[in-house]
């Protein structure tokens, strides 16, 4: 088991991809013939040590869980929602944002006790349900797959749970953060068997990424 054993990496298309590619570049891992407009989904790196797959973020944990991809990079929000049975050895410290409860401006103190359950529109039904039921708040979850900010505007729900980075999208839609649920950033995930069977190569990748990640990232926690 040499550290030159090939590792397959699942990458998320979308908001995180650019910043992840830059990070990989800094770690001296560059993809061959990758073009932004390309419809290709599989790429190699120039040394032939890595193979990359471009996937929808929500599918990254699946590919890694089944071992078709040895490792993957994806936002913590996706991991919390899907609860895949995979290792999460490194937070890359990039793609920072917040998963938050938001509502129409000025409703932070609104009294919803008269309602039997508060309606919450979200792409994250599992996280949202757990967050509120743990606090003893009865909620009705309305699952939406996108444009979640529209829901309170049209009266579909009183609140939303969504990813917030600059807060501009919320503000432009007349919404504000009511409470923060957790911080979200990009994480490296590893298939359980690959972590064991391809240990040198995986550990090498983790080290290279740790070295180039912003100071907020860490794989060995502070004592």
């Amino acid at each position: 088991m040499k550290s030159t054993e090939r590792i397959s990496v699942a990458l998320p298309k979308g908001r995180l991809l650019d910043v992840i590619l830059r990070l990989l570049c800094e770690a001296d891992i560059e993809m061959v013939s990758y073009k932004l407009q390309s419809r290709r989904l599989v790429f190699q790196d120039k040394c032939g040590h890595f193979q990359f797959f471009m996937l929808k973020p929500i599918d990254v944990p699946t590919y890694v869980e089944y071992g078709v991809a040895d490792v993957g990079i994806v936002g913590r929000d996706v991991l919390l929602e899907c609860q895949a049975n995979i290792h999460q050895p490194l937070d890359l410290g990039v793609g920072q944002c917040t998963l938050a409860v938001a509502g129409p401006k000025g409703t932070a103190q609104a009294d919803y006790r008269g309602l039997s359950a508060v309606r919450i529109a979200t792409k994250y039904p599992r996280i949202t349900t757990e967050y509120f039921t743990q606090r003893g708040v009865p909620v009705e979850i309305i699952y939406l797959s996108g444009s979640v900010e529209l829901a309170p505007l049209l009266g579909l729900s009183e609140r939303i749970v969504d990813l917030v980075s600059t807060g501009r999208t919320l503000a432009e839609n007349g919404l504000e953060i009511i409470e923060s649920i957790c911080n979200v950033s990009a994480r490296l995930v590893v298939n359980r068997a690959s972590y064991q069977v391809k240990r040198p190569a995986v550990t090498n990748l983790i080290k290279r990424l740790t070295d180039v990640s912003p100071k907020t990232a860490y794989s060995t926690p502070r004592l």
Binding site: E65, Y66, G67, V68, A84, N85, I86, H87, Q88, P89, L90, D91, V190, N191, R192, A193, S194, Y195, Q196, V197, R199, Y218, S219, T220, P221, R222, L223
Partner: protein, 325 residues
């Protein structure tokens, strides 16, 4: 009303080549078990719920198929074999010569989400070695597992070896509630360093304790890992666990099996009844472990007979996807 052609989630039918392959694997592996003088035990499909919940721990409660019989007793379909074998030995076979060598093969049921290679009904095939000397029997069951894999054509495999006592010694000092312990185990199991850090903030830990717990995540490798681990702890239980691990590793070296073994002290999850060495079995190109085992010295006590035990099980469906190719 469901149509009659619909199948319940997590079940499957084997026929043609897959049925033949299942029986062929069972026969080949059984031939290895029998060569080592393991005799078959065929326990019932169900038993009182308490028989399983005692051993498997609070986490497994929701994954059992439970039902109430006509007298109002709570029963369960077997989610594993070890508890049944333990109960049989404790109540009927306690006078047999030690160590008792028993094997089993059959379907078990767990009400889990079918994902990542798990079905709700799957086959376990394994052995239990009961009442014998610790290091020799630990090494024996590992050797039987390795020879079984070789017998079905799997030449490359990795056994990740850990010791529950190491982790238990560490957490004894921290006084965790059951719920907290489950959370910590889960975080270590996922190798979620950050999550562990956040969780640990809540407890008053000394620097040494903190360092030891976080290091768990890195304590994987060859035999030197045991020495590295020794430098991190001072409590007796953890040190004893490391001695056990070292003794077993030496024995495996003596049997020329150590090349397949990796020490992994971050292996903490698994059934609650494990008290000593634990191991998970991996093969290349399969994203899930194909078997697991360990020592469980406190299980038979529950059934009225105190005997140390060790064993392992293969997950046959996963084996089928890589064996005999």
């Amino acid at each position: 009303m469901k149509t009659l052609t619909q199948i319940p989630l997590g079940t499957q039918v084997l026929f043609g080549e897959s049925a033949r392959q299942r029986r062929r694997l069972e026969q080949l592996i059984y031939s290895v078990f029998h060569r080592w003088e393991y005799q078959e035990v065929i326990p019932p499909m169900l038993d009182y719920y308490d028989v399983f919940s005692k051993g498997m721990g609070v986490e497994s409660e929701n994954s059992m198929y439970r039902f109430v019989d006509r007298e109002g007793n709570l029963l369960a379909l077997r989610p594993e074999f070890t508890s049944l074998v333990a109960k049989t030995v404790a109540t009927r076979l306690q006078d047999w010569p030690k160590p008792l060598r028993l094997c089993y093969s059959g379907d078990v049921l767990r009400y889990e989400t079918p994902r990542g290679g798990r079905q709700r009904e799957f086959v376990q095939l394994g052995i239990e070695n009961i009442g014998g000397e610790r290091v020799a029997c630990d090494a024996e069951v590992i050797q039987v597992a390795m020879e079984s894999l070789q017998r079905v054509g799997i030449k490359k495999f990795q056994f990740n070896l850990g010791e529950m006592g190491f982790f238990a010694g560490l957490v004894d000092q921290i006084c965790l509630s059951d719920q907290d312990l489950i959370t910590i185990k889960k975080l270590i199991d996922l190798k979620d360093f950050i999550g562990l850090q956040d969780e640990m903030e809540r407890f008053q830990l000394s620097t040494q304790q903190r360092k030891a717990l976080y290091s768990l995540l890195h304590l994987t490798g060859n035999a030197q890992t045991i020495d590295s681990a020794r430098r991190l702890v001072s409590n007796e239980k953890s040190l004893l666990a490391l001695d056990n691990l070292k003794a077993l590793y030496r024995e495996l070296q003596r049997r020329k099996l150590a090349k397949h073994v990796t020490i992994d002290l971050s292996e903490v999850r698994g059934l609650d009844y494990y008290t000593g060495i634990i191991f998970k079995i991996y093969v290349p190109d399969l994203g899930f472990e194909i078997g697991s085992g360990g020592r469980y010295d406190n299980l038979l006590k529950n059934f009225g007979c105190d005997l140390p035990s060790v064993g392992f099980t293969f997950f046959l469906e996963r084996l089928m996807s890589v064996a005999l190719k």
